[in-house]
Structure formats: C-alpha cells, structure tokens
C-alpha cells in the first residue's frame, strides 16, 4: 500500500512552492468552473424572435456544459414587456433571467432596481471567461447596460442598427445613384416614384409610435439631441423641425399611399414586393428579404448605411440585453447563462443567420465568423460600417412609450398635411408634464 497521507513537511514544501510559483507570475489556478452550479434550475423569459430562437435551439449545449437546467418561454415582444413589468412589480418574478429591450426599458428597470448588478461577477475569474471583458462591447452596448454609477446591470446581447435597404433593379431602371446624403435621398426617391407603375421611391414607418425609430435617425443626422443637460426634452427645436420636414416630404411625396398606417411589417411587404425602391429600418430584416418564399427581390437588394444629414451621419441604434432579476436566488448560475448567451459561439450563430448583431466587437470583427455569414456581403459591410456611426435613436427616459406615442402622433399628423413646427410644439407641451411627473418621483 502506498501511503497517501500528507505529512506536515510535504505540505509545507508544497505551500512554499505554490507561494513561489505565484510570485513568478504564472497564472493562479482560478479558472472559470462552468460546472460549479450543476443541478440548478433557471427560468428564462424571452421576447419572441430570432434571439429567443437562437437561445432555445442551442440550450442543450449550455446544459451539457454546466449541468444547469433551463426552462425558457418566448412571448411576443409587446406582451413580454408587460408581463415582465407586472412580475417585477409583484416582487417575486417567476424568472431568473430576463430578456429586455434597452430602448424601452433601460431607465425603468434601473430606477425600480429590478436587475442584479453583474459587476462583481464580471471581476470574478471563477465566474467569467477571460475573453468576456467590458471593453469588448461596443460603446452603445455599454451605454445601455451600465447605470449612472457604472454598474453593469445586464449583458448587451444584440444591437439593431438602422440601415438603408434599396432595390438595385429599380435604381438601374431609373438610372439613379445610391444616395450619400439625405438630400440626395429625397431627390432619388422622387425620381424613383412612378405611381402609374405602382412603384414608389421610399417606404418606412408612418405608424404612430413605430415611426419614432425612423424619425430618430433623421433627427440625430440633423444634429438633434433628445435631452438637454437638465433632462428637458428638446424635440421641438429647429433640428426636430427640419428632420420632420424631411420625414414629411419623403413619406408624402415618394411613399406608397397609406404609409401613415405602416409599421415595419407593411413597409417590408411593400419592399419585398418590389413596390418601393428604398427602405430604412433595422438590420434584422435581411433574412426575409433574401428568402425566395417570402420575397420577390431576392438577390436584388442593396444594403448600405443611412445617408448623411447636414450635421452628421449616424445609424440610429436600438438593442436588447439579457439580465438577472435582483430577486433571483440563483444569480451566479443565471450569470453563467447570460455569459453563454453573449458568448462568441452563440453570437456567431446569431450573426451568421442574420438574426441579430452581437454587441461584441470580437465577434463582429472575426474574419472566420464573417466568412460564415449567410447573408450578402454588402449586408455585413453595412452592419460593420453602421457600428462605427452608431447613436442611440431614442431618449433614455422612463416614459419612452408616451414619448413615442405623443411625438409619433404628431409625425403621423404631418403626413396628412399638418405643419411640422406646430405639431411638434403641441406634442412637446403634452409630453413635458408627463416627463416631469415621472422624473420627480
């Protein structure tokens, strides 16, 4: 029999040696242990869409990796947002991990203290893989995920840049060049409009609330800022009026009839049927546009960044993240899941299928991952270029929904001929007290 007992002497020498080793700067043995929380059960609530699909499809890999069981449900976006808020308010949410829309929920979640702080987890090498570092996320992602105190309250998951989709065939037919500025775009849209043939130069969101995402891009290109230093809303200033005039001109002179009621779905229908030559919306619509079963413009779509405005060129940016409920009892296990959700492998899958764009630069700029992207190269290029000119497309306030409804209704009114300046002023007068009421409490 070999004696396995450790004598005091060997123990001492061992400790000394270990101490010496650590002095030499060799890595300490603190490594991410994925299996540490094996046997834990997690509940996840997701918004329906490609991100949720990507998680559910591959969740078995996570369970194999960690031994953590995951129950997840996907709910249509609008309903998911409501359900999450109601559950959080109850104090005992039924989920550990939550999928959130930053551009709608960031301030609300922060102020109510519903999300757990991930900062300590990210600093803990036994919980965090070495490649997951803050600096890897894009600036917009960090802006969304961090609160005023610099705490990471979620991990940025997928970003939505606004890009310009255009129909190459219609452009060729009318001999129009791809616009580089918003003014050029207006001119191009007018040339491309041919009501007799039923084709129009531009299509985009006219529907109240939804239209704010498109308008926000014009607004920032005109040099607009949503809030001043004191947190007052600025959407009736000269930049806003100019942006609205542009919006009004495009959507009344060069857009299909009825555009005032169009959300992305109706816009996409018009574009995929080859009835509209240009469309500005989020990057995520490439898969349906390139799907022969759903689109008549497969292979004819051009992708590029949103044209420049007089005060700059930006891509309005929206996004979603994944966070941990502050009330969860399994925060560490939940953190492992969040980490896996934004991991290189999962991010690559999302990007390659065109279902979303990871906030992590290391994924977006990896040539190997890029080569696996199934969407056209132009699409990927528009994504990479948009990342460089990204700017948040909505104000970061609690009453975002009211903002979108009220200012959005003003925009829709301009489509039936109302005066932009007067409508924006009216909307601002209506919105200001709501904002003040929400910020004072």
């Amino acid at each position: 029999m070999v004696n396995h007992k450790i004598s005091r002497r060997t123990l001492l020498t061992g400790t000394a040696a270990a101490g010496a080793l650590s002095l030499t700067g060799l890595p300490a043995r603190a490594e991410l242990n994925w299996k540490k929380y094996a046997g834990t059960k997690l509940e996840v609530i997701l918004a329906k869409g490609p991100r949720g699909d990507n998680l559910q499809k591959n969740i078995k890999e996570f369970t194999e990796l960690t031994g953590i069981q995951v129950e997840s449900e996907q709910i249509p976006e609008q309903q998911q947002r409501q359900k999450v808020v109601i559950e959080f308010t109850s104090g005992r949410p039924s989920f550990d991990v939550v999928h959130l829309s930053y551009h709608v929920q960031k301030r609300q979640f922060e102020k109510a203290g519903w999300l757990a702080d991930m900062t300590p987890f990210m600093k803990d090498p036994t919980l965090t893989a070495p490649d997951l570092v803050e600096s890897d996320f894009s600036a917009a992602g960090l802006q969304y995920a961090k609160n005023d105190k610099g705490q990471m309250l979620s991990l940025p998951w997928s970003v939505d840049y606004f890009i310009l989709y255009y129909n190459k065939e219609l452009f060729q037919k009318k001999g129009v060049a791809v616009p580089k500025t918003l003014d050029e775009m207006v001119a191009a849209a007018e040339k491309l409009t041919d009501p007799k043939e039923g084709t129009y130069g531009f299509v985009g969101r006219g529907l109240r609330n939804a239209n704010m995402a498109l308008w926000g891009n014009f607004f920032v290109d005109y040099g607009g800022e949503f809030l001043d230093a004191k947190g007052n809303i600025l959407t009736d200033g000269p930049e806003a009026v100019e942006a609205t005039k542009l919006y009004q001109t495009l959507l009344t002179k060069s857009a299909p009839p009825g555009v005032a009621g169009f959300n992305w779905m109706e816009s996409m229908a018009s574009f995929t049927q080859g009835r509209s030559a240009m469309w500005i919306d989020g990057v995520g619509w490439a898969p349906p546009l390139e799907d022969p079963a759903a689109s008549r413009v497969v292979g004819k779509v051009g992708y590029t960044v949103v044209p420049a405005g007089p005060k700059g060129q930006y891509s309005a940016t929206y996004g979603d993240g994944i966070g941990i409920a502050a009330a969860s009892k399994n925060k560490e296990a939940a953190y492992l899941l969040c980490q896996w959700v934004v991991s290189k492998k999962q991010g690559a899958r999302l990007l390659q299928a065109g279902g979303g764009v990871p906030f992590r630069n290391s994924i977006l700029n990896d040539p190997e991952i890029q080569s696996g992207v199934k969407m056209p190269k132009e699409w990927l290029q528009s994504v990479i270029d948009s990342a460089k000119i990204s700017k948040l497309g909505l104000p970061v306030v609690i009453p975002v929904a009211e903002f979108r409804d009220i200012v959005g209704a003003a925009l829709t009114a301009t489509l039936s001929g109302a005066d932009p300046a007067a409508e924006l002023k009216k909307a601002n007068d209506q919105y200001r007290p709501i904002l003040e009421r929400s910020e004072k409490t």
């Binding site: 808020v85 229908a269 209704a409 039936s416």
Partner: protein, 312 residues
C-alpha cells in the same frame, strides 16, 4: 298591499316564537358562496379601481394619494376627449349598420326558397371566427397597394382607397369589419322574432292590398321592435367595449384617429404603466356605459308604454 304582505310574516313569527327549535332554517348560508364570489370578483375590483384612481400609482414607483387630480387631468387631456368622440361615432355606426342589414337579411331568410338552410349557415359564419384572426385577414385586405379590396374597386373603375390607413376613413373601415362580423347575430335575433309573428295580420293586409313595404313598415317592424331593441342593446355593449378588432388592425392609428376610450385606457395602464390615471379613465368609461344603457332601457320602457297605449 305592501302593508298586508309585511304584516303576515310578522304575525307568523310571533306565533312561532315559543318553539324556537322549529323555526324554519335560515337561508342565509346558501347565499354566502354567491355573495363571496360577487364581492371578490365584482365589488372588490370596483372599489379597488376607484381607490387606485384617487392615487398617483405608477408601476415601479411608490404610490401616493392625490384625491381627484387624476380626474382633473382627464378634463384637459386632448387624447381622452378625442377618444370619447371616436368611441361614440364607432358605437353609433356599429350599432346602426348591423341592425339595418341584419333586419334586411332576416326578412330575406324568413322567406321560403331553395337552399335557405345552407345559405343561413353560410351567412352566420363570420360570427364564428376569432376577432383577432379576422382582423389580421382584413388588415391584409385593406392594404392600399396589395390588398384585394382596392383590386375589386379597380375592377368597377373606383379609384383606390386608403381604408384604415387614413384618419378620415379609418373608423368607417373598422366599422365595416365589425358589421361584417356581427350582422349575423342581429339576423339570428330578428329571425327568432319573425318566427313568433302570427300570420293573421299578413293575411288581412294582403286582403287590404298592402304592398311589400307597407307590410314591412306597419306589421313586421312594430312586431319585431322588442327584438330589435335587444339586438341593439347587445350590439351597443359590444361596440362600446370593442377592443380586439381595433387593436389588431390599427392600434388606434393612424395617429390617434381610431383611438377609442378602451384603446387609450389600455395604453395608459399597460404601456405607460400609469395605473392611477388608467383607473380614472376606467371609472369614467364605466359611468359612460351605465349612462348609455340607462338611456336604452328608458327608451325601451317608453316604447312599451306607447305600444300598449296605441294598442288600447
């Protein structure tokens, strides 16, 4: 009369007083379950809604008592005032159109002709469909560029319409869907009424040489009036609280051109999470419904009296 009925049990009680054990058992315990249910699911939510409407109650923030300030806010809220108008127009149209068309359909289907049973079945099919599902189908049909409605109009030389995509036509277009779906209900009710009318008045009218319109105006219509009132009442309640069709097709748009009180209430409570203000809207909305129902009931009551008076 009432004094008499009251005195009888009182006398019985004093007789029974000596033999306490033989007193008939109280029926109160049997009422308790129903009472509890009513209290829990009708009375309590109502009292609580009124309480919420008196508070500043926002999800994620502490609540505070503010008295009637939510109600004062309503009076200067242009969206709310507009929403009342939209609700009234929407309701009026979606009560009247199904009533007129449903009565006409009932008169037609009351006649004997080949395939009547089959056609009746076909006619009531819209009523069986799920509102949200048909709303989505109608949304596609309304599409100004790709929808079938504009294609059909183009066949007869009428220019393309914007339907639900223009503020001026959105409410009539929504009413079209509502009418399509609920005309069959009116028809069924009126058909029941027609079946109950005796044949004698028609025979004598025939002898007197009345034409079809006169028969309808002076015999059929007065006799089915009570049924029409019921149908109108049901339609009114449904139309005032209509939500699914509007929400699924326009979400209150374009702009806020089809935003009824219900849609606005939903936005305030569940999109803006302003539960206090939303509750105030709910209370006002409830009062409005009570008022409309009272008017309808009063009209019905009056009609019955005039009928009896004219009959006598």
């Amino acid at each position: 009369m009432s004094a008499l009925t009251q005195s009888t049990p009182a006398a019985a009680r004093s007789d029974a007083a000596p033999e306490k054990e033989l007193r008939p058992p109280s029926y109160w315990p049997f009422v308790v379950p129903a009472l509890v249910v009513v209290l829990a699911i009708i009375i309590f939510p109502w009292v609580f809604t009124i309480w919420m409407s008196l508070n500043e109650w926002k999800v994620g923030s502490p609540t505070s008592f503010v008295g009637f300030s939510n109600y004062l806010r309503l009076t200067s809220d242009p969206r709310f005032i507009e929403a009342i108008g939209h609700t009234l127009v929407y309701t009026a149209l979606s009560v009247l159109l199904p009533l007129v068309l449903g009565t006409f359909a009932a008169v037609v289907f009351h006649q004997n002709f080949a395939g009547r049973g089959f056609l009746r079945g076909v006619f009531i099919m819209p009523m069986m469909a799920t509102p949200v599902a048909i709303a989505l189908v109608w949304t596609m049909m309304f599409h100004p560029q790709l929808g079938i409605l504009n294609y059909l109009l183009s066949l007869v030389g009428i220019p393309a319409q914007l339907w639900v995509f223009h503020p001026a036509t959105v409410i009539p277009s929504l009413v079209l869907v509502e009418t399509w779906q609920w005309t069959p209900l009116v028809m069924l009710i009126v058909l029941g009424g027609l079946a109950a009318i005796p044949t004698e008045p028609y025979e004598s009218a025939q002898i007197d040489g009345a034409n079809l319109w006169q028969v309808f105006r002076f015999i059929t219509l007065p006799l089915i009036m009570p049924f029409l009132f019921i149908a109108g009442m049901i339609r009114m309640i449904d139309a005032v609280k209509s939500f699914d069709i509007i929400f699924a097709i326009t979400q209150g748009g374009p702009g806020s051109a089809s935003e009824t009180i219900n849609i606005y209430l939903y936005s305030v409570a569940f999109t803006y999470y302003d539960l206090g203000y939303g509750s105030a809207i709910a209370v006002v909305f409830f009062l409005l419904i009570v008022l409309l129902a009272a008017v309808m009931l009063y009209a019905r009551q009056r009609m019955l009296w005039t009928e009896i008076a004219s009959g006598a």
